[in-house]
Amino acid sequence: MKKGYYSVDDIREALRKPGYVTPLLKGLRYTFKMFMSKDVTIQYPTERRQISERWRGIHRLLKENDKFKCVGCGLCAEVCPPKAITIVTEESEEGERYPSKFQIDELRCIFCGFCVEVCPKDAIEYSKVYDFVGYDKKEFLLEKEDLVNPEKYIFQGK
């Protein structure tokens, strides 16, 4: 045996000792212990899990002074591995560039976090919305206005 390795044979041998019936009864005792302990199920739509700060939910486009922070540089669209972001940039009268169209296909999105990571203006971030449901593919094409407040997509139950 090389250094840093050890054999499981003696553990295996030791297992033969307890016999047949006792381990079976021990198993029953263990499940009974679990029967008595608290269940871990969360009653999902009514009860929700505490999720972490860094949760990668549906994207949120941030606004500053009632304007989108986004300047339409297109880095997010470029870095996006599944190419879920469509962005069309225009220039306003003041010479500021802004995205005239900012569309995320949430069905294509793999929530890798690259877009948020590369945005130089901190204009896009992840919300904590993870239960976005719909009946049609088109419902998942989110325009920039939809992305301002993704909390409205939280599934409320029936």
């Binding site: 390795y5 499981v8 381990p23 871990v40 999720i51 860094r54 591995p81 590369v118």
Partner: protein, 389 residues
């Protein structure tokens, strides 16, 4: 004249215990397996081809989808390969974090394995216990990266974000509570005579055969192949930690099981050491052509330009080829990268352990019974995402 004694059975792709879309063409005599031919490819997504069109950075999320039960390990393998190609050093803190996350992933992978392997044999409860415990790891990883199943936490040159106190707390909690849970699994399975009877002396692979078939990881080690990438080619500061690798001798399904159960304990041991000795410092290597940190981008125009260059063009790796492997939760997970000097991997070959293990399946199950195939597959711990790529 003699009657055809054998019959054919197509097991899968829609079969409850082929762990995905594996299909096995069986030739049976009664219930005895005469010939087994695994047929794969139903989940083929062409990750290697897609990676050729992505920059080195963009290809990271693809690797998450290989072995989705222990996604961060694949990340690690890939970024290590790229780093090796580039020849860059990663900060110590990042290395330790990588170790913690990858060992947590390994436990996650093993959790899924033991749960489904037990479910295959009808022990339906274990899978729920393991998923309950897996949830805690998921929360840890979520705390660090924001993702649960496919965290995409590793980056070339480090990890995506530094961890917070909450993460460390949660990991510590997990490390403290988990050994007891392992004992629980063992009460239900290891000690159980039925479990032993189903696993012992089954799908036996000898040492020579194992090494010739290229079995690595717990499957190979069960046959006595004392080869662990963490020990043989230490990466990401694994040499800093005090841990041992379990090795079996008989090479049956039960040894595979025992090895994995021991790996649980060893992983906990590594995580404990890493989380207690977590050094301070940056989590990204400060290399000019890599993605600069956000704080710098906000203030520094140079960093901004670097960011644009990183995203739009990617970095150019030197011409050459590397092979870097990590000890995945299933075995040696390797990435062969060929770079022609461009910003994209010219050729990225993923060596997935399950792929080799599936090719060894006929050698394992032939001569055993129909029910034993289930046990053998369960003991191999295959993930079709990794096999088909």
């Amino acid at each position: 004249m003699a009657a055809e004694r054998t019959w054919k059975l197509h097991m899968g792709p829609h079969h409850p215990s082929t762990h995905g879309v594996l299909r096995i063409e069986l030739e049976l005599e009664g219930e005895k397996v005469l010939k087994a031919t695994p047929i794969i490819g139903q989940l083929h997504r062409g990750i290697e081809k897609i990676a050729e069109d992505f920059t080195f950075h963009q290809a990271i999320p693809l690797t998450d989808r290989l072995d989705y039960t222990a996604a961060s390990l694949n990340n690690l393998g890939y970024v290590l390969a790229v780093e090796k190609l580039l020849g860059i050093e990663v900060p110590k803190r990042a290395q330790y974090l990588r170790v913690i996350i990858s060992e947590l992933s390994r436990i996650m992978g093993h959790h899924l394995w033991i749960g489904s392997a037990a479910l295959d044999l009808g022990a339906m409860t274990v899978v729920f216990y393991t998923f309950a415990d897996r949830e805690i790891i998921m929360e840890c990883i979520e705390e660090a990266s924001g993702g649960r199943l496919t965290p995409t936490y590793m980056r070339i040159g480090g990890v995506s974000k530094d961890v917070n106190e909450k993460f460390i707390e949660k990991v510590k909690y997990f490390v403290d509570m988990f050994p007891e849970k392992i004992d629980g699994y063992e009460t239900l399975l290891t000690d159980n005579i039925i479990w032993r009877q189903r696993n012992e002396d089954l799908a036996v692979i000898s040492y020579d055969e194992a090494i010739n078939l290229g079995l690595t990881g717990a499957v190979g080690r069960a046959s006595g192949v004392n080869y662990d990438v963490r020990k043989a080619f230490p990466y990401s500061s694994y040499e800093d930690f005090d841990f041992e690798v379990p090795v079996g001798s008989k090479g049956d399904a039960f040894d595979r099981y025992m090895c994995r159960m021991e790996e649980f304990r060893q992983s906990v041991r590594i995580i404990k050491q890493a989380i207690e000795n977590l050094p301070d410092g940056p989590v990204m290597a400060d290399i000019p052509y890599l993605n600069p940190p956000q704080e710098k981008v906000r203030t520094d125009i140079d960093a901004l330009i670097r960011r644009f260059k990183f995203v739009l063009e990617g970095f150019h790796a030197p011409k050459g080829e590397v092979y870097q492997s990590v000890e995945g939760s299933k075995g040696e997970l390797g990435f062969y990268l060929y770079s022609d000097g461009g910003s994209k991997p010219y050729r990225c070959k993923i060596k997935s352990p399950c792929y080799i293990h599936v090719s060894a399946l006929p050698a394992m199950v032939e001569g055993y019974m129909l029910s034993d195939i289930i046990t053998a597959i369960g003991g191999l711990d295959i993930v079709l995402g990794e096999i088909d790529r």
